[in-house]
């Protein structure tokens, strides 16, 4: 008989499907397992089956597999994990030999690839999640919006649009003297996650919040992007413009952006994907990346990098406003204006920013040092 378990390590999402007691024999197997699509009830073949963590084979086209001699002598309790691309892994406890067939229903994943270029460890994995909230300029408050909640197609369309209009135009908005790799689009895996019962809230907290169970469903995500619908009444208040924000907290990096601001999207992506630093002067975070910064903590280091890269050293200038008394930072920048990390609705990535972007694209997963 299967034994329900609350939480089994190793199973990102545990769903328990107790064996249906059909009072039939198990056909002489220690474990006779059948798998099916929980949404359609159809048998699911080619499901990888792991017994106690070891690969035990895969189910046939009829969704069945018979397992004999499971090993682990003297051990009644065993663990069955079933896995198939496009479905949520399920781990279940089972006592063997099982006197009844074990049936496990697999739930299709809410994660849908838009462009999958390769293994997670060699690509930047971006996952778009819809926001169920937006901002009401009239009332100056967060409001619920049904646009993405009731219309998945609208969300998917907006995701595709902003990817095609911004991220995949990187070659046209970066410096051409030392261009990005020609196949830069293939350095990304792009997905959307649409679960009608789980939406992000783009206006909860500073950079919005992503439900914990979404994080657990996509642990590989390098960046989760909360996409929120355009403000419903932007013209009521000219100062009520959409905003974007980034949280690069520990291993979980996420950002929120409006669906209709491709330049703002690139600005926030500059932070979240490539670690670029703001070049405008304001209340924001500054630091010098190593290697390939776009902001330096001294003029000397900026000039040094400029010389080393055959850039124009005289372009190094302190981050400050037109009126330095209003804002001056002890950081320096090099890229010319209009610079996307400086502007709101226009600009390009200059030589330094392009170098940083290329570094991240070429050295994905380089954020650490092997001892």
């Amino acid at each position: 008989m299967t034994t329900p378990s609350e939480r089994i390590p190793g199973s990102p999402t545990v769903q328990l499907a107790p064996a249906k007691n059909t009072n039939t024999s198990t056909y002489g197997y220690d474990l006779f397992l059948s798998t099916f699509d929980i949404t359609t009830g159809e048998p699911l073949g080619n499901v990888s089956v792991y017994l106690d963590g070891g690969y035990a084979g895969s189910t046939s086209a009829a969704g069945t597999i018979g397992i004999q001699n499971p090993g682990g002598e003297g051990r009644a309790g065993h663990t069955v994990r079933v896995s198939k691309s496009g479905y949520v892994d399920i781990t279940q406890s089972v006592e063997l030999p099982s006197t009844v067939p074990v049936k496990i229903g697999l739930q299709p994943q809410a994660l849908v690839p838009i462009r999958e270029a390769g293994p997670h460890s060699t690509k930047i994995d971006i996952v778009f999640v819809p926001s169920s909230t937006t901002y009401n300029c009239a009332g100056k408050e967060k409001i619920m919006t049904t646009l993405y909640v009731t219309n998945k197609n609208a969300f998917v369309s907006d995701v595709n649009k902003i990817v095609n209009e911004s991220l995949f135009t990187l070659d046209s908005i970066t410096d051409k003297t030392d261009p990005l790799p020609a196949d830069y689009r293939d350095r990304f895996n792009i997905y959307y996650y649409y679960d009608p019962s789980r939406f992000a809230d783009g206006f909860d907290g500073f950079a919005g919040t992503v439900p914990e169970n979404v994080w657990e469903s996509v642990p590989f995500a390098d960046v989760i992007i909360i996409l929120y619908p355009t403000y419903p009444t932007p013209d009521i208040d000219p100062s009520c413009d959409p905003n974007g924000a980034v949280s690069t907290a520990a291993s979980r990096i996420w950002m929120k952006v409006p669906a209709d601001q491709p330049v703002l999207f690139m600005h926030e992506s500059g932070h979240a994907l490539f670690g670029l630093v703001d070049t405008y002067c304001g209340d924001t975070a500054y630091w010098q990346n190593d290697p390939d910064p776009n902001v330096w903590s001294s003029r000397a280091s900026c000039v040094k990098d400029a010389n080393n890269n055959s850039w124009e050293p005289s372009a190094c200038r302190q981050i400050q406003q037109d009126d330095p008394t209003k804002c001056t930072k002890q950081f320096w920048r090099l890229d010319p204006d209009p610079d996307i990390m400086h502007e709101e609705n226009t600009g390009t990535f200059g030589e330094a920013s392009t170098r940083r972007i290329a570094y991240v694209l070429n050295f994905i997963n380089a954020g650490g040092q092997i001892a």
Binding site: Y27, D89, P219, G282, E343, N362, F363, N365
Partner: protein, 429 residues
């Protein structure tokens, strides 16, 4: 009726040369990640819980702003260092329109305390995680990962990373990212759902050309129906023509062989109970003839499949259909065979730029095809003699043979998995 050993070898060779039937489950995946849930309050960091799960960790973000994270081995040596971005800082940009000119303004949110999660790829050599201040290297917290590893492997003892199960020859499954590895230098991976068959040189070219020329379009494929009942031929032919296939027919084994001399079909539907030459004998002759040996054959018969048939002919046929058959089941079976051919053609094309050892490829291709066919036959055996078939006493001998068939499939799958996991094979499917 038993085929000779030579015939068996012939069939195996045909499988290799024909490269039909390349459908398999995902490659076994043992990737795991560690999630350490923590809290920072002022300068104090507290580890709240640690989990190990199957799945993939994110890449480590290349930044310089934050804490210093260190992964430590059991002997105290440092395995890897990296930056943990400060979870208390979030920053954003607000577009403000003043005097008609939009301006971007920065906003920073600096909290004193925050919950956060450090997610790392599992490495069986790493037993401890430490966090230090970046400025002066003060140790902020240390998390012993060993208890969670012990708990995990108590539940999954057969996982290859279990220290109790791997020996010195076992494949090390350390999936920590390699610092400084250019993307262009990383090895491309096959699709997670399929099989990558790679053949270098002229073999690749000839097989690709063969498949392309032979099967340019599914709907125009030519099926030879062999059955001694002309009424059945008419019904089957009607079903297939409605599905877009061209059909020819033969009413005896001899007539079938004669038909094959005039034109080679894309697939043969072959009855078993015929006189004087039955279907199995006809099959052997088809497979012995160079021109027709690679033509896929589906047995279509009223005769129940026996475990010994699977044992003897499982490597020479593509499927086994029991009459009466519905139009849907028939076309599904045929489509499945052609889909395999299509898949292998695509995989070969995709693999042109890679170099995989030919011996591995041949074995993997053969195993994968045999596993797929045998699974279909095993399904049929279970449907015929299993608990839902109403067959109360199929006989212990048959039950034992069915179990042996299944065991053979497991053995083949295990061998296939062994090839997949062999770092030297280059086979990723």
């Amino acid at each position: 009726m038993k085929p000779s050993f030579g015939f068996m070898i012939l069939c195996i060779c045909l499988i290799i040369s024909g490269l039909t039937g390349i459908v398999t489950a995902d490659s076994a995946r043992y990737d795991k990640y560690i999630s350490i849930h923590m809290n920072i309050d002022g300068g104090k960091i507290t580890a709240k819980s640690t989990e190990i799960n199957y799945g993939f960790a994110p890449n480590i973000f290349p930044t310089q702003e934050g804490f210093k994270g260190v992964l430590v081995a059991a002997d105290g040596s440092t395995v890897k260092t990296f930056v943990v971005p400060d979870p208390r800082v979030q920053f954003g940009d607000v577009v403000v329109t003043s005097s008609g000119t939009p301006q971007i303004q920065g906003v920073v949110d600096r909290q004193n305390s925050a919950d956060f999660v450090v997610t790392l790829p599992f490495d069986r050599n790493v037993t401890e995680f430490r966090m230090y201040t970046a400025a002066d290297g003060t140790l902020l917290t240390s998390v012993n990962l060993k208890p969670q590893m012990d708990t995990f492997f108590a539940i999954y003892p057969k996982d290859p990373d279990n220290p109790a199960s791997y020996g010195s020859k076992a494949t090390v499954h350390a999936n920590l990212p390699q610092a400084g590895t250019p993307v262009s230098a990383t090895k491309p991976s096959g699709q997670p759902w399929g099989i990558l068959a790679i053949i270098p040189g002229t073999v690749l070219l000839s097989i690709t050309a063969f498949a392309f020329l032979r099967f340019p379009r599914v709907k125009s494929k030519n099926v030879l129906i062999v059955d001694d009942d002309s009424d059945i031929i008419d019904v089957i032919a009607l079903m297939l023509r409605r599905a877009g296939y061209r059909t020819r027919a033969a009413t005896t084994g001899e007539e079938c062989l004669k038909e094959l001399e005039s034109e080679t079909p894309d697939l043969i539907l072959l009855d078993i109970v015929m006189k004087p030459m039955d279907g199995w004998e006809t099959l052997r002759k088809i497979k012995k003839t160079p021109v027709t040996k690679s033509v896929p054959v589906i047995m279509l018969t009223a005769q129940q499949l026996l475990p010994k048939d699977v044992e003897e002919y499982g490597i020479c046929i593509e499927d086994y259909i029991v009459k009466p058959v519905s139009s849907k089941d028939l076309t599904n079976a045929i489509t499945h065979v052609f889909a395999r051919q299509q898949m292998i053609r695509e995989k070969i094309a995709a693999a042109r730029e890679a170099g995989i050892d030919r011996n591995y490829l041949y074995e993997a291709a053969r195993l994968t095809r045999v596993v797929d066919v045998n699974k279909r036959l095993w399904d049929l055996l279970v449907r015929t003699y299993g608990p839902d078939a109403g067959n109360k006493s199929p006989g212990s001998g048959i039950l034992l043979e069915i179990k042996n068939t299944e065991k053979k499939i497991r053995d083949l799958e295990n061998r296939l998995e062994q090839i997949r996991r062999d770092p030297g094979s280059g086979v990723e499917w």
